[in-house]
Symmetry: C2
Subunit: 323 residues, 2 copies
């Protein structure tokens, strides 16, 4: 396993290469995409050819991140991943195609597998965008409005709009720099956090109706079945932010959202309050993530998944002296 490299070294690697392919993680979020397009724009500003790829469709709400960027065609000679903890998270055929030839990984997950030739990993960063900001500063890039919007998007989305404990003083300071550079923070936050379709609000309602609580109301479980998706007319991507609902109930330490997939598997999102570690619980079911937000996927029915998840949560609640 290689040690992590510093920002200056990462910047040097990027500057001394060209035709750079940037890969985000699958099921892309604002942090991985904000990082990818900020880095892409920075490299182009430095006279390089660069492009971003993702194994999944990029939801339209993120389209402003790539506004005005032409897709550059080239045979990659340097491959970097952003906000990717494990090559399994590249998704699609990207793991097979690139998994073993990644030159540089820029990431903030404590669980990072150090899979690249060079790994620039800083788990102190609340968002991977904090690291990208520091790397592109080292590259001598001037932060324009487009880059500022990309970085702000990463900071804001990965910290629940500065709400969660991973937002540190550094996160706030970089956000201030991005506002000074012209980041349209309030428009970005409206798109990322406020705008909800009526279909979404109806789905949320179905979820509240069906919400179940366990272990002296310390754990709540929301289930989204294929039937509920159909009833509300919403897709899986749009339903992502339902994940925070379960944890919002007063007194709850662990909020679980179970999504039934079309392929019969179940996707589990776990959000927790301190001291319960969501990543630890998910690790027991071959998943992972952050301390307060993690996930896993189980090849079981909704009922079996619920039982399996509750078993591990009960253990965690007991270990933490909560029940």
């Amino acid at each position: 396993m290689l040690m992590t490299i510093d920002y200056a070294k990462a910047a040097g690697l990027l500057l001394s290469n060209d035709d750079i392919l940037i890969i985000s993680h699958m099921n892309p979020d604002g942090d991985t995409l904000g990082c990818a397009f900020a880095l892409c724009r920075a490299l182009i500003q430095k006279g390089k050819r660069a492009r971003v790829i993702c194994s999944d469709h990029i939801p339209s709400k993120y389209s402003y991140l790539s506004d005005g960027l032409d897709i550059q065609e080239f045979r990659p000679s340097f491959i970097t991943t952003v906000d990717v903890a494990d090559i399994k998270l590249l998704g699609g055929n990207l793991e097979d195609r690139y998994g073993e030839i990644i030159n540089l990984s820029i990431d903030h997950h404590g669980s990072n597998k150090m899979f690249a030739e060079y790994n620039c990993v800083d788990s102190y960063a609340g968002a991977a965008a904090e690291i990208i900001y520091k790397v592109i500063l080292e590259m001598g890039v001037s932060i324009d409005t487009d880059i500022a919007n990309c970085i702000y998007t990463g900071l804001s989305t990965d910290t629940g709009c500065f709400r969660y404990s991973n937002a540190t003083a550094q996160t706030y300071r970089i956000a201030a720099e991005m506002l000074d550079a012209g980041a349209e923070s309030s428009s970005i936050n409206t798109v990322m956090f406020e705008s909800k379709s009526l279909a979404f609000l109806k789905l949320q309602q179905l979820c509240i109706d069906g919400m179940k609580v366990f272990f002296n109301d310390r754990c709540s479980v929301v289930t989204l079945t294929q039937d509920m998706y159909k009833k509300s007319g919403i897709d899986d991507t749009e339903s992502e932010s339902i994940s925070s609902l379960a944890r919002q109930v007063e007194g709850v330490y662990v909020g679980v959202t179970i999504r039934e997939r079309e392929n019969g598997k179940c996707k589990v999102s776990i959000r927790s309050h301190s001291p319960v570690d969501a990543a630890e619980i998910c690790a027991k079911m071959n998943g992972g993530g952050h301390n307060r937000a993690a996930g896993c996927e189980l090849s079981m029915s909704v009922e079996q998944t619920t039982q399996e998840v509750l078993k591990h949560i009960k253990q965690a609640l007991i270990e933490n002296g909560i029940i």
Copy 2:
């Protein structure tokens, strides 16, 4: 009308007086209370006697702001208001009692009536807490964890957790300073924004069920009747955050929440997206507030209130070329 004074002058006034009464506005929020208790703690640190009063009950979720503060008894010799734009907003009998003898007003509302002997008003500040921070720095106060928690609460609550356009680079920078001083940002945000009782979630559901849209879906109206309060078992204070619901619907420029009071009057909250000015709309109904969040109270039935409010909103939407 007296001109506004600078932070240093405000600090000087506070330092050269003693037995200081600090008054928040009625229906207190996190900013007015955060300011009041931050200032109170700062004054006590400087060896003064000081206490905070508010004409309304302070909701229990704010109790940490005053933790460990003893109520000091004295006959006030210097009176200051925080985050109060108009003496009408003192509420209860405080307008009669103190309205004409306020020595210092510290505020960030552009609509401030400059009612005090000295007015330290900076409408650039996203939260009044930004001004309090600067004033107490000028006073030579050392920002301890308690003061940091008070100021962070003001910053976060008045900007919708840094989501709205009033959160400037300055807001983020002061938040970073507060985190460095020990502010428990994530716990505060959990209490202020995340914890919702099941009763609240049920009320939210009743609101979504009854939500009406007008003017090509550019305006949405949520109505809370006394009957709905009774059904959900929630009180008026706890229902405050429902106000943001109406504006959350995709495509909506103006979100209206109408609350039926026990006295038969109706309280109206208007939230808008740029370019619609919520304060301008409310001013036409003898109310006021900020550009994106304002309110008023009408002595009419819910139906009459709805018609009156819609009339002014229609005009604003036409003037802004939205319909």
